[in-house]
């Protein structure tokens, strides 16, 4: 199978830029990153079809190996639709996030912060247990210990 190097290089650049943007905290950049990733992958799938050829429409006199492989194109079509849906959803979510917090950034998780600030000492489990060392009680039911009163 012959490989189109230009496609592969472009795929690599698109994926690298996409992954870099996804690691950002700003949500619009994350969205751009996801779109780049989607396009990069589509290009990769196209490359996986092998050499170029005629459009895969049936012609009675064409040889079987003169067509290009139609399957990757069908796969890309599906992938494009899915990326489109996810992008639309993300846009709505980013807009909602912006309306709620008026910032285009992801905040830290409150529970994570709570756990990270917790000390090893746990009151419920680690506090010393008060022991009753006497069986005698005074009139109000308080324990009477030696040397008290």
């Amino acid at each position: 199978m012959s490989v189109n190097i230009t496609f592969l290089v472009v795929t690599g650049v698109l994926l690298a830029a996409g992954f870099y943007l996804v690691l950002e905290r700003t949500l619009t950049r994350v969205l751009l990153g996801i779109m780049l990733l989607g396009n990069g992958i589509n290009l990769l799938i196209l490359t996986s079809g092998g050499r170029k050829g005629a459009a895969p429409l049936f012609k009675p006199d064409a040889a079987a190996d003169s067509y290009s492989d139609p399957l990757p194109q069908a796969l890309i079509l599906t992938a494009i639709v899915i990326t489109f849906a996810v992008t639309a959803f993300l846009l709505a979510m980013i807009y909602r996030s912006w309306t709620l917090t008026s910032a285009d950034e992801l905040t830290d998780d409150t529970e994570d912060i709570k756990v990270s600030q917790k000390t090893a000492y746990d009151e419920e489990e680690d506090s010393p247990v008060a022991e009753d060392t006497t069986e005698f009680v005074d009139e109000e039911g308080r324990p009477v210990r030696e040397g008290e009163e």
Binding site: M1, L15, G18, F19, V22, L27, V30, I34, L37, G38, I41, L44, I45, T47, S48, G49, G50, L71, P72, L75, T78, A79, I82, A85, V86, F89, L90, M93, R96, S97, L100, T101, L106, T107, D109, E111, D112, K114, V115, K118, E123, E124
Partner: protein, 533 residues
């Protein structure tokens, strides 16, 4: 015409149901009826499918009559039929739970009416992923269930859920991208995406390309299954969703990833070339997950961590390989789906009963809500692996299989498994001691309503005295019935019963799992039932 030719209905019914439910979004009652009816139909269909392949048959359906490897094929074998049935049982229970909660709260029209259609789409995606016999259809199944899960996770659109949803969506999209990358490379290398065809053609590739494809697929599925270095998104995103949504996610979504991993390891790459790596990852998943669970004070977050931790057992079973280990893995998947979902439903009940799922605010619930205590206790000790429950049987099977001619690394992982089991028990018992046993007044942040109710019940018990010792219990039951609608309690109860049934019928079920495992390892039935030659 074979009965199994109806298998595509397991995907088609929920999708059409979702459309109908969406059209009926203004009539809440009709929408509910459609959703429950569709799920019941699917359940009957899948029970029939499981019965048809119970003896160990496998049956391929070629959609549109296109022969494999060119057309899309669906595969019904023991493994997929078992997963389908368990997932539908669980989702039906959760749906009844959610419906009853909605009934009690009075469904408001508006964005909430999207719940039922999205739920059915989620189920269609899960079924499609289980039935898929080619990688791309598996990808489509994943995408269907993920897109529905994005909607369900951010239901209502509060700030907290949007924050959690962002993490979830971005991580899921990245895992899908990696999966697609793997598919493209597989197609470039072999010229097919049909799994049976791949099983034949992949061994012809060199070691290098095989390893790359193998690891890429494992990473993509590992993110979905929440395997350790790739699991950190899960406890951040699951707990904020509504209780029924978390329950169904916890049961199904990670297990779809596990299902895909089992298929990859048994069908596509049977050599076990990365088993040592999988063993290490399994041990880390178990131990780190459960240590995270111990640090949490929120019950739902703690459950999310035990969820990721116990995925480690499943990966462990896959890594050990061999008929017994795979059989135990399949049994454990069934157990884990049911138990983890019932625990999340109990978390929802606790949250509703006491106003919070944070254990620092809870107490006295054993007195105040005896039925709830029972509903918590059974799945909890089941998760902890106490005999005779299914958790014990599954873990015993796994460790027993692993211990047969084990190398030092496997012994270390067996140790990690035992340690995790012990720590799970500890995490569960800490919740039990705090939420159910201690007095509400002793909580770190006492909840005044709970304290008042506890005092009321104690007073009533005292007033009843020796003549009428059940007076306090009666009041507790009354209070429980007031705050927890019967539908929610019975839905949870029926899933707890399903967990017990998995224990009671462990004999025949485990024999079935052994048949399935033998079939998975032989590969021949799968390949020859799809490929015509």
């Amino acid at each position: 015409m074979n009965f199994l030719d109806l298998a595509p209905l397991a995907v088609v019914l929920p999708i059409f149901g979702a459309g109908a439910a969406f059209l009926a979004r203004r009539q809440v009652r009709l929408q509910r009826l459609i959703t429950i009816g569709i799920l019941c139909l699917t359940l009957v269909l899948e029970a029939g499918m499981l019965a048809a392949v119970w003896g160990g048959e496998s049956y391929a359906i070629h959609i549109g009559g296109w022969e494999s490897p060119f057309g899309i094929a669906l595969m019904v074998d023991g493994f997929s039929a078992f997963m389908l049935l368990v997932s539908t049982v669980v989702s039906l229970a959760v749906l009844l739970f959610a419906t009853s909660q909605g009934l009690a709260d009075g469904d408001e029209p508006g964005p909430v009416s999207i719940f039922h259609p999205a739920y059915l789409i989620l189920l269609a995606g899960v079924s499609n992923a289980f039935l898929a016999a080619d990688l791309f259809n598996l990808y489509v199944g994943f995408e269907i269930l993920l897109t529905a899960s994005y909607v369900l996770l951010t239901l209502g659109g509060t700030a907290e859920r949007i924050r959690a949803g962002t993490t979830y969506v971005v991580v899921s999209v990245v895992s899908s991208v990696i999966f697609l990358m793997a598919i493209a490379m597989t197609y470039a290398a072999t010229g097919t995406v049909n799994m049976a065809d791949l099983a034949v053609k992949l061994p012809e590739l060199g070691q290098g390309p095989q390893l790359i494809l193998h690891v890429l697929l494992l990473i993509a599925f590992g993110i979905k299954a929440a395997v350790f270095p790739l699991s950190l998104w899960l406890p951040d995103s699951y707990p904020t969703a509504p209780a029924p949504v978390t329950a169904v996610f916890a049961g199904l979504l990670t297990k779809v990833g596990v299902y895909a991993i089992v298929r990859t390891e048994t069908l596509l790459f049977p050599g076990g070339s990365v088993n040592a790596g999988l063993l290490v990852v399994a041990a880390l998943t178990m131990v780190i997950g459960i240590l995270g669970a111990l640090a949490q004070t929120d019950f739902k977050r703690m459950l999310s961590f035990t969820l990721t931790s116990h995925i480690g057992y499943l990966i462990f079973g896959v890594a050990v390989g061999g008929p017994l280990a795979i059989a135990a893995t399949i049994y454990y998947v069934g157990h884990h789906i049911i138990v983890q979902t019932s625990l999340f439903m109990v978390a929802g009940l606790i949250e509703r009963r006491a106003g919070s799922s944070n254990v620092t605010r809870l107490g006295s619930l054993a007195k105040l809500s005896p039925a709830l205590a029972l509903l918590f206790f059974i799945p909890a000790i089941n998760l902890g692996g106490i005999p005779p429950f299914s958790g014990f049987l599954g873990k015993f099977g796994l460790l027993h299989a692993a211990a047969q001619d084990a190398d030092p690394l496997t012994w270390v992982v067996i140790g990690a498994g035992l340690l995790t089991s012990l720590l799970t028990l500890m995490a569960i018992i800490r919740v039990w001691a705090r939420v159910f046993w201690r007095r509400a007044a002793d909580a770190e942040v006492p909840n005044q309503d709970l304290v008042a109710e506890a005092t009321q019940v104690a007073d009533e018990t005292l007033a009843g005295g020796a003549q009428n010792p059940r007076l306090g219990l009666k009041l507790a039951k009354q209070l429980e019935a007031d705050s927890l609608p019967w539908g929610m309690r019975y839905a949870t109860g029926s899933l707890v019963l399903a967990g017990i049934a998995l224990t009671v019928f462990a004999g025949p079920i485990f024999e079935f799992c052994e048949r399935v495992a033998a079939e998975l390892i032989a590969r021949e039935p799968y390949i020859s039932s799809i490929l015509p030659f």
